[in-house]
C-alpha cells in the first residue's frame, strides 16, 4: 500500500496527474484495440460478401 501521509499537496497533485495520464492511456489503448478488431472484422465480412 502506498504511504501518502507524508506527501505534500504538490506530491498528491502530481500522483493524481500521473494516475490520470495512465488511465487515459489505458482507455485509449483498449479503445484502439476494439476499433482495430472491429475494422478488421468489417473488412473481412465485406470481402466475403457477408456484410450486406
Amino acid at each position: 500500500m502506498i504511504e501518502t501521509q507524508k506527501w505534500t499537496p504538490e506530491m498528491v497533485a502530481e500522483f493524481k496527474r500521473r494516475r490520470r495520464g495512465r488511465n487515459w492511456l489505458l482507455l485509449g489503448v483498449l479503445g484502439g484495440f476494439c476499433l482495430v478488431i472491429y475494422a478488421v472484422a468489417c473488412v473481412k465480412l465485406y470481402q466475403t460478401g457477408g456484410m450486406w
Partner: protein
C-alpha cells in the same frame, strides 16, 4: 538517493514511461521498412488491412523492445544511457514490463493472423522470438557478433509487410531482408566506436570492447562492402528500375566513402580516434538516412 528520485519513484509511472518501454525511436525505421515491403508487393491489399498490418508490425517491435528492457534491467541500471529507463529507475516494476510486452506481442501476432494471413503472422512471431531469445537472452552477453546475428530481428519488417500483402515470401523480400541485415553491423558498430564505454562497464561484449577499435573499423568497412552488392541485386535481377538502381549506386558509393573515413580516421596505436570520432558519428548518422532513402527509392520505383 536524492529526494527528487525517491519522489519520482513513489509517485509511479507516467503514461510516457509506458510508451518509453516500446523504444519509440527505434520503431520509426521498423514501421517504414515494413510499410515499404507492403507497398511494393505485387498484390492489391485493402488499405484498412494494410494499416492494421503496419500497426501490428509496430506493436510487435515495441513489445519485443519492452521484453528486452525487462531482461536487460540489470545492465541497463549500470549504463548511463539506459539507467533512467522506467524499469531500472524503478518507475515500472519488472513484472509489469514483462506482462506489458508479452500481452502486446500476443495481440500483434493474433491480429496479424486475423487481418492478413498465417505466413505474415508466423514471421512476425519469429521476429519477436528471434529478438528476445536469440539476440537478447542468448547472444547479447556472450559474443561480440551479437548484433550481426541479432540484427536479423530488425531486418524482418520488410519481409513481413510483403508476406502480409501476398501471403508468400519470394526472392525479392529476402533481398530486402538481406539489405537490412547487412546494414546493421556498419550502422551499429559506427555508433559503438564512440559509445562503447557504457557497454564495457556493463560487461556487454561489444566489438570495440572485446577486439578493439581498429578491428571494429575494419569490420565497418568490410560489412559495407558486403552490403552494397546486395543493395544493387534487386536492380540487377530486374525487380527494380532505374530510380532504385541510380539511388542504390549513389548511396552505396557514399556509404563506402563514409566507411573509408571511419577506417582511415586519425587514430592512436589501439585504433582510438584522435578526432573525437567525427567520421564514426557522421557514418552513423548517414547510415540511418541511407536506409530511409534506399527503401524510399524502392517504393518510388514501383510507381514510376
Amino acid at each position: 538517493m536524492s529526494e527528487s528520485v525517491v519522489n519520482s519513484v513513489e509517485l509511479g509511472a507516467t503514461a510516457a514511461d509506458w510508451l518509453a518501454l516500446l523504444k519509440p525511436r527505434v520503431l520509426t525505421l521498423v514501421v517504414f521498412t515494413g510499410a515499404v515491403g507492403l507497398v511494393i508487393a505485387p498484390s492489391h491489399m485493402n488499405p484498412v488491412l494494410g494499416l492494421v498490418a503496419i500497426l501490428c508490425i509496430t506493436i510487435a517491435a515495441g513489445a519485443a523492445g519492452a521484453i528486452n528492457m525487462w531482461y536487460d534491467r540489470d545492465i541497463d541500471a549500470i549504463m548511463k544511457r539506459t539507467a533512467s529507463r522506467p524499469i531500472p529507475a524503478g518507475r515500472i516494476s519488472a513484472e509489469g514490463g514483462l506482462i506489458f510486452g508479452v500481452t502486446l506481442a500476443l495481440f500483434s501476432v493474433l491480429v496479424m493472423a486475423m487481418a492478413t494471413n498465417l505466413v505474415a503472422a508466423g514471421i512476425l512471431a519469429l521476429s519477436i522470438g528471434f529478438y528476445v531469445f536469440v539476440y537478447t537472452i542468448w547472444l547479447k552477453r556472450r559474443t561480440p557478433q551479437n548484433i550481426v546475428i541479432g540484427g536479423a530481428a530488425g531486418a524482418f519488417p520488410a519481409m513481413i509487410g510483403w508476406a502480409a500483402a501476398t501471403g508468400t515470401v519470394s526472392l525479392e523480400p529476402v533481398l530486402l531482408f538481406l539489405i537490412a541485415f547487412f546494414w546493421t553491423p556498419p550502422h551499429f558498430w559506427s555508433l559503438s566506436l564512440y559509445a562503447s564505454g557504457d557497454y564495457e562497464r556493463a560487461g556487454v561484449p561489444m566489438l570495440p570492447v572485446v577486439r578493439g577499435a581498429r578491428y571494429t573499423r575494419q569490420n565497418v568497412m568490410a560489412y559495407t562492402l558486403v552490403l552494397v552488392p546486395f543493395t544493387l541485386a534487386p536492380w540487377a535481377l530486374g525487380y527494380m528500375g532505374w530510380v532504385y538502381g541510380v539511388t542504390a549506386s549513389v548511396l552505396g558509393a557514399m556509404f563506402i566513402w563514409y566507411a573509408w573515413a571511419v577506417l582511415t580516421d586519425k587514430q592512436d596505436e589501439a585504433g582510438k580516434s584522435l578526432t573525437k570520432d567525427k567520421p564514426a558519428k557522421a557514418a552513423f548518422r548517414f547510415s540511418i538516412l541511407y536506409l530511409f532513402i534506399l527503401f524510399g527509392a524502392c517504393a518510388v520505383d514501383r510507381f514510376v
